[in-house]
Subunit: 373 residues, 2 copies
Amino acid sequence: MANILDTGVKLVKNVGRYNIGAGSLAELRGLLDGRRALAKAQGQGGAVVFLVDEFFARQRDVAARLGVTDDDVLQFVHTAHEPKTEGIDALVASLLDRGLSQPAAVVGMGGGITMDTAKAVSNLLGNGGQAADYQGWDLLKHPGVFKVGIPTVSGTGAEATRTCVMTNEATGLKLGMNSDYTVFDHVIMDPQLTATVPRNQYFYTGMDAYIHCIESLAGSYRNAIGDAYSRETINLCRQVFGQGDMMAPENRERLMVASYLGGCAIATSYVGLVHPLSAGLSVVLGLHHCVANCIVMRAMGDFYPQAYDEFWGMVDAQGVEIPKGVCAGLDAAGFEALYKASIVHAKPLTNALGEDFKARLTPEKVADLFRLM
Amino acid sequence: MANILDTGVKLVKNVGRYNIGAGSLAELRGLLDGRRALAKAQGQGGAVVFLVDEFFARQRDVAARLGVTDDDVLQFVHTAHEPKTEGIDALVASLLDRGLSQPAAVVGMGGGITMDTAKAVSNLLGNGGQAADYQGWDLLKHPGVFKVGIPTVSGTGAEATRTCVMTNEATGLKLGMNSDYTVFDHVIMDPQLTATVPRNQYFYTGMDAYIHCIESLAGSYRNAIGDAYSRETINLCRQVFGQGDMMAPENRERLMVASYLGGCAIATSYVGLVHPLSAGLSVVLGLHHCVANCIVMRAMGDFYPQAYDEFWGMVDAQGVEIPKGVCAGLDAAGFEALYKASIVHAKPLTNALGEDFKARLTPEKVADLFRLM
């Protein structure tokens, strides 16, 4: 076991409470009523900040379904790009401008982008300063505003994790606020909310859970609880993507559970080779995390042969499309940038390949892998 | 699906935080230092109440290992009998006599009996009144004292559940304080602590997790997250008890995880036929819960044939002894008492056998089952 990987006792913060089941979104209003009453009893306004994936702006009844009042803020979150520290700061500034320094709750309803945005906003309202101040590990000093996560696409595990990934464009740093304070106080898992996800996106995002767990179980850093969460996450993904319609109601519920348990697995495990290469694609080509993972799987036949076969079998079974040839137009500088953006992730690469991972992942070898994508 | 079983949206409270890993007991002192400081900042004394399985009274350094100070209370908990409401009340009264109405924390270190005692004491300190006042569902109105669970034998899942089972001898009622407030704020899972458990007891207690989960997965009431926790719990039990030494260090860690995940499974699932019959043995013959479950398995060949074979295979593989003939000396009144104490558990029996479970479980049939034990 390599020294740079934590080998000691683990400390894990769980999501406070969760609702699960079709129709559980209806529980939100009562939950928020309680938080509003509590805030008012403490002399605050009782307003709630709703950050919702822009997809739902098309649904005319969304404000009514969520119980949005005139005092609340309902802000739709753009998902064309993953969160940036600047964008988080601007969002927080706009809330402060409206006098919402201490809302009763922050609700994040959407995929990983939206949930991570809600986590970051909650943290900044509780801690002051700017988003970039807290990129790293355990830099937050105070709890954020009470926050509720409502996933509407399953797989990233953002509903269960202690991070919220953001890119600081000024420095190029893509790093989250890793903190127990980042964990949601309440999560609502309503599989009805994933019925409208486009099929390709549903697959890419679901595979984030699967891929994380196959990386963890193949790594050198292992422990009993991480393994347990990973195994069951993979088991659920096999049920969902193996045969039958991955988007049937029972499979949407299973994938919601897989995403949550996959998020729990992240707390005590490391990823492997896929995520660093995927990060390279995100940084250099701007590809979103989940589709980038799937693209990387094109080059994983030698590294994760069993998972490679299973993954491409699931792609076939579900008839989804994985982009191809994404590095075709790159020059030498492009491949160098990909190498640098990937090789920097020493911990997962050590977990996957050992301490001398650079001997196996030479710039030439890495370029060859990217050419396969 | 039967009407008396909850079929709607589930709400689950998680354990706040957990430590896991060999040696994690050493984290307790720092955790309590934080709670002591917080209590003192709030004008309280900062004392901690340690409730510890009497087994550890033999270990001379236990107070030092736990960081017990002169102001603290270290009380060893007798485990000859399962918790009674009277005993809980007496324990709370003795704490109040010492001026400990608001300790900084309550620590329960032991098996299900000790952890349930700690949960109940914490709840009563936070809510006043007597233990019997809160036997039922959601009767507690306030949070208890910050409480830490430290399992020293694995299987009951008490470290993860929202109940603490107690018997009220005056009324004969065996029922817990089922409440979100009963859930531990912090759990420390240190597999070194289970190294000294007697082999039979280790097996009986571990099987509580296995049996709960095989009952749940065979029931009519199912849901995706309960199933996921149950499947992985069973998977871990197979690793632990299937072959090799069930008490090897890696298996003790696995069983600690199985117990925790089995406890998580309880939150959204029902047991089946084993637990009602086991409750009959506990009420009428005074047998402890975990050994009673194993005894009931003698009669489960027709009801859970696959689990029956697997269970007795694990008994053989580990060379443990399950008591036999426990009902041999009973008269008709004894069998009638067993029937009554079992058949009252309508929800799990409905889950296992359907709404007309009494047609299948006639008094004669139930007596025949107990004769097999």
